[in-house]
């Protein structure tokens, strides 16, 4: 993997983190009046997987959409304006945090119904196949989504028709506050299920390492691009904050602090920056410079978002139909 890619990955995880922290900072002002499912702790998967894609490849995200949106080149101002329910938001305020989209860079949509985007992504891959393009469709989803019929039904169909689609499962072992241990029997691994359905499938416990994610997903994207069909990747990761909202939920006795301690040592930002500094791929100055850029970029975007006009309420009747 060349240094350019590594540097880009580091910048990408750092930027996603910076945006999430900025949202946390401002959320209390009650100007972002929509639920936010933050991805602090899970940035590496979005960053690593999206870095493999071309601009004209498609992604489909979930309620936890910020990571993929930013990693695939979604516009920051449009994102923050969207969270603020303003005109100029990427959906002009109609979607909010759970429905981010930026088709210009292939972010087709984000969907708030668990698993809903999985077949839809496969459908876009079908259209690519029919149209004879060499695009690839990728969809992100959580461990919870794999419990919905959609998941299995779609993998089966994708395998039958060798669709150019890559399924990326972010396994944070939680669905809202219900742990995976309640939702899957002991000893079952999602990757094995995907494999049994005829989809090339791989698992890594290192979902917080963007380099690992990049490497593994590269193979899947290539496979898809070359007409060799779908692949599935399961990455372990950890949700640092509450399911929805800006707070840490460990204090409320719902989760042991142990998990958090373990995963803190695998912070997608810290571990990668340490590593790349040690490898001399990046300098401390470069990192600081990026941080400064983020601060500036975020200040401007936040200002833009807060000052963007509110939608005219009567436009709520527009665009129900074509």
């Amino acid at each position: 993997m060349n240094a350019r890619v590594k540097k880009d990955l580091l910048r990408s995880v750092m930027r996603i983190r910076a945006v999430e922290l900025e949202i946390i900072k401002h959320y209390g002002k009650q100007q972002m009046r929509c639920p936010v499912h933050l991805c602090v702790g899970q940035e590496a998967i979005s960053a690593g997987a999206c870095a493999v894609l071309r601009r004209d490849d498609f992604i489909f995200a979930t309620h936890r959409s910020h990571g993929p949106y930013l990693a695939k080149g979604g516009d920051l101002q449009a994102m923050l304006a969207e969270l603020h329910g303003r005109v100029g938001g990427c959906c002009d305020g109609r979607g909010g945090s759970m429905h981010l989209m930026w088709p210009k860079t292939g972010i087709m949509t984000s969907l708030a119904i668990v698993s809903q985007g999985i077949p839809i992504a496969a459908g876009s891959a079908l259209s690519m196949q029919m149209q004879g393009t060499d695009q690839v469709a990728m969809t992100f989803f959580g461990d919870g989504a794999t419990e919905e019929g959609n998941f299995y039904e779609t993998l089966n169909f994708a395998a039958i028709r060798k669709l150019p689609v890559v399924f990326v499962c972010e396994n944070n072992k939680l669905a809202t506050n219900t742990p995976l241990s309640v939702r899957r029997p002991e000893g079952v691994r999602i990757t094995d299920i995907a494999k049994s359905l005829g989809v090339h499938s791989e698992y890594s416990p290192d979902g917080n390492d963007a380099l690992t994610v990049y490497k593994m997903v590269s193979e899947g994207v290539e496979r898809a691009r070359n007409g060799n069909g779908p692949s599935f990747f399961e990455f372990d990761t950890y949700r640092m904050l509450e399911h929805c909202g800006p707070f840490d939920d460990h204090e409320q006795g719902l989760r042991s602090a142990k998990g958090r301690e373990f995963w803190r040592t695998r912070c997608p930002v810290d571990t990668l920056s340490r590593k790349l500094l040690a490898e001399n791929v990046v300098t401390r100055e470069k990192i600081d410079q990026w941080q400064a850029e983020f601060v500036q970029e975020l200040a401007a975007a936040m200002k833009y978002a807060e000052e963007a006009p509110l939608p005219d309420p009567l436009t709520c009747f527009d665009n129900v139909y074509a």
């Binding site: 498609f58 489909f60 959906c91 002009d92 109609r94 979607g95 429905h99 989209m101 088709p103 087709m108 949509t109 969907l111 119904i113 809903q116 985007g117 999985i118 077949p119 839809i120 992504a121 496969a122 459908g123 876009s124 891959a125 079908l126 259209s127 690519m128 029919m130 149209q131 469709a137 019929g149 959609n150 039904e153 779609t154 089966n156 169909f157 039958i160 527009d318 665009n319 129900v320 139909y321 074509a322």
Partner: protein, 353 residues
């Protein structure tokens, strides 16, 4: 030029015409390559257009609907088909939570030009899980269009229009219409969505109906005419959006309203039409409006129940007469000399079901 065609042939022509003209159109459904060809409507299409454009599927309605949505968002115009409307209940999330909301959420920058063909089953013991008519459900949902043609010509023209429409369209076919005949224009002639049509002009009572019930309404009109009653029949064709103009002006003219619906009576099309008229033409209503509908129970399998279960020409005539304070011997009037059983559309019917 118009020739006589079967309704199922009209559907088949509409699909063939669109598959031929537009590379973005494809057909998907369980049994799409099956010899029964979804009651003949897909006859020859897989052979002509190939199995990459006429796609048979696993038994996975929900994901298959999602697949079609994904393809539609990326420029395709899929036509899904389900052999029974009942099966789409597996996929309501995709239809209502995804397809119907998509354009709106994107504020008009994306759309879902998807057509979903749903067949309403009836007769020969279809029973509780294979004979539901849930058109009113789809019509409740902003973001969906709902089409339910009666005539073969409309089946063709409206299906073409549905495929060309940039919105998700639920296209409803009653199983008992597939074998009916009517003149059907050649070529790729679309019939605009959203317009009702007066299939019979009259002055005494307005009957509002759609799909198969328009056939029952026409049968009842014929008998009523023999008794000096002159009904007007509004065939809705599109259930969402409703053609308020046509409905209201007919009701304003006749002053009396009967709705004939193939669905259940509560919270359905019948109530919608009656409410529409009560809200917009109250002063024109000389008598309380009436509803002929499916009986308010699941559809039992046994043939013996059909007479009570399904609203028919006889029932329509009965309520029309009642509104006009006329006594009508419906039993004699609607006596069927052929004695055709009530669970088949015509004597030749022998499936497939």
């Amino acid at each position: 030029m118009a020739r006589e065609c079967k309704f199922s042939e009209a559907i088949n022509e509409a699909l063939a015409v669109k598959l031929e003209a537009d590379r973005s159109v494809f057909v998907m459904g369980l049994g799409a390559q099956d010899r029964n060809a979804v009651f003949g409507t897909l006859d020859g299409l897989a052979e002509t257009f190939g199995t990459n454009r006429v796609i048979d599927t696993p038994v996975s309605e929900n994901a298959m609907t999602g697949v079609c949505i994904g393809a539609a968002v990326h420029g395709m115009r899929p036509v899904m088909v389900h052999q029974r409307m009942d099966f789409i209940l597996m996929a309501m999330d995709q239809v209502v939570n995804a397809a119907a909301k998509w354009r709106y959420m994107s504020n008009g920058t994306q759309c879902v030009p998807l057509t979903i063909r749903l067949v309403v089953g009836r007769g020969w013991g279809q029973g509780p899980q294979h004979a539901q008519a849930l058109h009113s459900w789809f019509s409740h949902i902003p973001g969906l269009r709902v089409v339910a043609p009666f005539s073969p010509a409309d089946a063709k023209g409206l299906l073409i229009a549905s495929i060309e429409d940039d919105n998700p369209v639920v296209f409803i076919e009653h199983r008992w219409l597939h074998n009916t005949y009517g003149p059907v224009p050649e070529g790729a002639v679309a019939e605009p969505l959203g317009r009702a049509t007066i299939v019979r002009e009259g002055k005494d009572v307005t009957i509002v109906s759609s799909s198969y019930m328009t056939l029952e309404a026409l049968r009842s009109a014929e008998k009523l005419a023999s008794q000096g009653v002159d009904v007007e029949i509004v065939d809705l064709r599109t259930l969402r959006p409703l053609d308020m103009e046509t409905i209201l002006s007919s009701v304003r003219k006749c002053g009396r309203l009967v709705v004939a619906d193939m669905g259940w009576p509560q919270y359905g099309l019948g109530s919608e039409i009656i409410a529409l008229c009560a809200r917009n033409a109250l002063d024109s209503l000389k008598t309380a409006p009436s509803l002929v509908s499916m009986a308010d129970c699941p559809v039992p399998t046994a043939a013996a129940f059909t007479n009570v279960c399904y609203g028919q020409a006889r029932d329509i005539a009965q309520v029309v007469a009642r509104q006009l304070n006329k006594t009508l011997d419906v039993e004699t009037l609607f006596e069927d000399p052929a004695g055709l059983p009530n669970d088949i559309p015509d004597a030749r019917f022998s499936g497939p079901f």
